[in-house]
Each structure stands twice: as structure tokens, then as C-alpha cells.
């Protein structure tokens, strides 16, 4: 269970993968402690590394944690696990933190962001073509908030800049990866989407 118990390091197939219920419960406690002090999502690999178990056991223990009732939830976000307060307690927590309601994204910004998220990599011109209005202002704001970033340039006339989403984007919306984006409603449009990921 603990670190440093095996000398082999990588790949220990002789070790039983399936740990008992008690072991998993103990591991769940350890993982919860780690996630408590982490200030960003922690990948399963990293958790496995510091606890000296296989990633599969980490995932079992996380499932156990997620099934527990309590004030906290374990989310799969941006390729890692993250401990957060349960949404039902949001008002009390917000009052305690004396935090204002965070300003949501404006509708235009959200539309622009949706286009970048589903069509990435995408140029300014393509965004504007879909929205029908100039979206420069929203693009700049989204860049400022690090929800999108420049991912390259298209090799066409003018070499326009291409935009894509960031890890911050995944965390902002509580997504594990881009495949977690809500499905687009219109059938005809779905086929136009470039493959994601």
C-alpha cells in the first residue's frame, strides 16, 4: 500500500491487481488526503505513483470516494481528480468565503467559446462567419481569461491565427477532456465537426 514497498518500480504484473475492500477503503482515505491539499486536479498516474499502487486501484478507490455522502465531491477534471465542495452547499460556502457571485461569461463570449471548443482549431474569420458578427472583442476577452489560446497558424493566405481551448477551459466547465463536451443538437451540423481530441 505504501510507497517504497516494491523495488521493481515499473510494471509489477506479479502483484495482485485486485486489492481487497479494506485496502481500497484505506487507499480511498489516503487519496482524499492528497486531493485535500492539492490545488489543482491530480492525474491518476500521479496518485498511483505517490501511493505505490496501480492506477486501476486508484480508480477503484476514487469510485468509492465518489459514492460516499459528505460535504465534498471528487470530480474528474482536466485529466485529473479534484476535491470540491458539494454544489448543494454553495450558498453557505460562498457566504463563508465572503465571495461575490463570480461574473458569468457574457452570451456573446459563450457563443464564441462554443465555436472554438467544437471547431478547434479555428480562425477569427471562421468564428465571425458562424456568428455573423465580428467577435474580436470576445476573442480577446477569452484569451485574457486563458479559456482559449493561440494554437498555431493556418497555412493559407495571410496565415491566420488558429485558436483552441485550454486546460483552464476544462476546469472552468468541470470537463475531464474535450470528449465530455455536450453533444451538439443538430444532426446536420454534427457531421461538419472536425474530429475532436
Amino acid at each position: 500500500m505504501r510507497e517504497g514497498d516494491s523495488s521493481g518500480g515499473s510494471g509489477t504484473p506479479e502483484r495482485p491487481i485486485q486489492a481487497g475492500g479494506e485496502e481500497i477503503a484505506a487507499l480511498a482515505g489516503t487519496l482524499e488526503s492528497i486531493l485535500f491539499v492539492a490545488d489543482r486536479p491530480v492525474p491518476a498516474d500521479r496518485l498511483a505513483e505517490v501511493t505505490g499502487v496501480e492506477a486501476q486501484e486508484v480508480r477503484s478507490a476514487i469510485v468509492l470516494l465518489q459514492s460516499r455522502a459528505g460535504g465534498l465531491v471528487v470530480q474528474s477534471v482536466a485529466g485529473g481528480y479534484q476535491l470540491g465542495t458539494r454544489p448543494e452547499h454553495a450558498e453557505a460556502v460562498r457566504l463563508f468565503l465572503q465571495r461575490e457571485h463570480a461574473e458569468p461569461l457574457s452570451r456573446g463570449a459563450l457563443e464564441t467559446l462554443a465555436i472554438v471548443a467544437y471547431r478547434q482549431p479555428v480562425t477569427r474569420a471562421e468564428i465571425e462567419q458562424i456568428r455573423g458578427v465580428s467577435s474580436d472583442w470576445h476573442v480577446e476577452r477569452l484569451l485574457d481569461r486563458r479559456l482559449i489560446r493561440v494554437v498555431g497558424r493556418r497555412q493559407t493566405v495571410g496565415r491566420p491565427v488558429l485558436f483552441g481551448t485550454t486546460e483552464t477551459f476544462l476546469r472552468y466547465f468541470g470537463l475531464n477532456d474535450l470528449s465530455g463536451l455536450p453533444a451538439m443538437g443538430v444532426k446536420g451540423v454534427q457531421s461538419l465537426l472536425e474530429p475532436l481530441g
Binding site: 490545488d39 471548443a117 451538439m184
Partner: protein
């Protein structure tokens, strides 16, 4: 949306165009959670909706008095100045002025018809374009739901702010201590010292900059060192990092004594 009208909630994009004589009918201008609302003869609602409708030709801009809009804007900003809202509103007002100016000017010969190379997937017909835009609007509201949900979950955020100096909150000794931990990890995990590919500082420097660009924000120091690599790889990567710091291409920051060290691309 807190609109009592059930039809409204089903399609928020429905134009809220009203007759001029209704404009003082008592109900106040809607102020949604985001956006700047206006009320002029012929239109009442969020400014960005007016812009969208005008662009789609659903509102005749020639009947909308832009002078009223700009007067409302200056009055509103005199009372309370929210810089974000002001900037966005100003930008949209400018777009409206530009559109109206074009509307009033004599028609130029048929515009642009920009050839779009290699975009096979672009929709051709108006119907397809409308369907496409509508799909993205739906996607945007799906994202809004996720945003609402995630805003109710509080995490130990403390995402460090971007440093302005090469090293912030840590000394060179702290940096070497962190390096020592990574090195020890590499020593423990290494199955055998196999001299595989030669590792070059220049390559590792490029790899670090690529990883930083990919994340779009800071990376944790230990993230720069993949698991199960050779000691040489770790040492060369650390040398590469030191060179990047020396060249002012990356900056490091540690929030407090035992928090992780973060690496940022500079400028």
C-alpha cells in the same frame, strides 16, 4: 432567465421588437445576468441582441435612433462605470454605427465573395448557416449549464498568479531542493541505466517551452519531468530549465514554503 412568459424561455433569441408607442408601458428594461440592455423606440432588450438582429436584418437599423443609444450609454456610464460592460457596450455601439453608416451610404458593387480555400465543410446555403449558428447557440447554452454547475463547486483554487520576476517566492536553493526530489524519484524508478537516445539541452528547452504553450498557463515544476525517465534525462531537463530562466524565457514562482513550484512562460 426569470421571464414569466413560457414562450420566451423556450427561445431566447426571439426578437423583442416592440411598437414605439408601447415603450412606456411600465415594465422595466430587462437586465439579464450579462450584457447591457437598452430601450429605444423600436427595440428593447440586450444590446448584443440588437446587434445580432440588425446583422440578420430582422431589425431595420434605419428606424433605430443611434443618438438615443449613445445618450443612454453616456448617462449609464456616468452613474456606474463597469469597465468590462462599458468596453463591450462601446464596441457594440461602434459596430451599430458602422452598420448604419453602411446602410445609409449608396450601395457599393457586390462585395467580397472571398474564396474560401480547402474549407469543404463550410455550409453553403442560408438554411445550413442558420442551422449551424443555431447549433452553436444550443451548445453555448449547454456550456452555460455546466458553468452554472461548476460555479457552485468550490475548490482549493489558489492558482498562482503569474510571476513578474525570474524567481518569485523561492531561492535557488529551493529550486535545487525540488530538483533533488525529482532526481531521487528518477533514481528509484529507473529499471536500468540504459543509454538510449542522447538527450540534448536544446531539445529539452524546446520541449519545456512547448509544454508551457500547450497548457496555456503555468505548469508544476515536477510536471516538466515525465515519470520513468533516466537520471540523465532529469539532469539535462533541469539544466535546460536553468538556461531558460537565465534567458528570461520562463519564470518560476512558489506561493508558500511547502506549495509546489510553478513554471510560466515569460511575457
Amino acid at each position: 432567465m426569470t421571464d414569466p412568459d413560457p414562450q420566451e424561455t423556450s427561445d431566447e433569441n426571439r426578437p423583442r421588437v416592440e411598437e414605439p408607442d408601447q415603450k412606456r408601458s411600465g415594465h422595466p428594461a430587462r437586465t439579464p445576468a450579462s450584457g447591457y440592455s437598452v430601450r429605444v423606440p423600436g427595440f428593447e432588450g440586450p444590446l448584443d441582441l440588437l446587434l445580432t438582429l440588425a446583422h440578420q436584418g430582422k431589425v431595420d437599423l434605419s428606424t433605430i435612433p443611434l443618438a438615443d443609444l449613445s445618450r443612454q450609454f453616456t448617462e449609464r456610464m456616468r452613474n456606474s462605470m463597469d469597465l468590462t460592460e462599458a468596453t463591450e457596450a462601446l464596441w457594440m455601439l461602434a459596430a451599430l454605427v458602422e452598420m448604419k453608416a453602411k446602410l445609409l451610404l449608396p450601395k457599393a458593387p457586390p462585395p467580397e465573395a472571398l474564396p474560401l480555400p480547402e474549407e469543404g465543410g463550410m455550409p453553403e446555403t442560408v438554411e445550413e448557416k442558420v442551422a449551424e449558428y443555431r447549433a452553436f447557440k444550443e451548445a453555448a447554452s449547454a456550456l452555460r449549464a455546466l458553468e452554472d454547475e461548476q460555479k457552485r463547486i468550490f475548490t482549493r483554487s489558489a492558482r498562482p498568479t503569474e510571476p513578474e520576476l525570474p524567481l518569485e517566492g523561492l531561492t535557488v536553493e529551493d529550486l535545487f531542493a525540488a530538483f533533488g526530489l525529482v532526481l531521487e524519484r528518477a533514481r528509484r524508478q529507473q529499471a536500468a541505466e540504459v543509454a538510449d537516445e542522447p538527450v540534448r539541452v536544446a531539445d529539452r528547452k524546446a520541449a519545456i517551452l512547448r509544454a508551457l504553450a500547450r497548457s496555456g498557463e503555468g505548469l508544476e515544476f515536477s510536471d516538466l519531468f515525465p515519470l520513468r525517465v533516466t537520471v540523465v534525462f532529469v539532469v539535462v531537463t533541469f539544466l535546460a530549465l536553468l538556461e531558460l530562466v537565465g534567458e528570461h524565457k520562463v519564470r518560476l514562482r512558489q506561493e508558500s514554503a511547502f506549495s509546489p513550484i510553478f513554471v510560466w512562460a515569460a511575457g
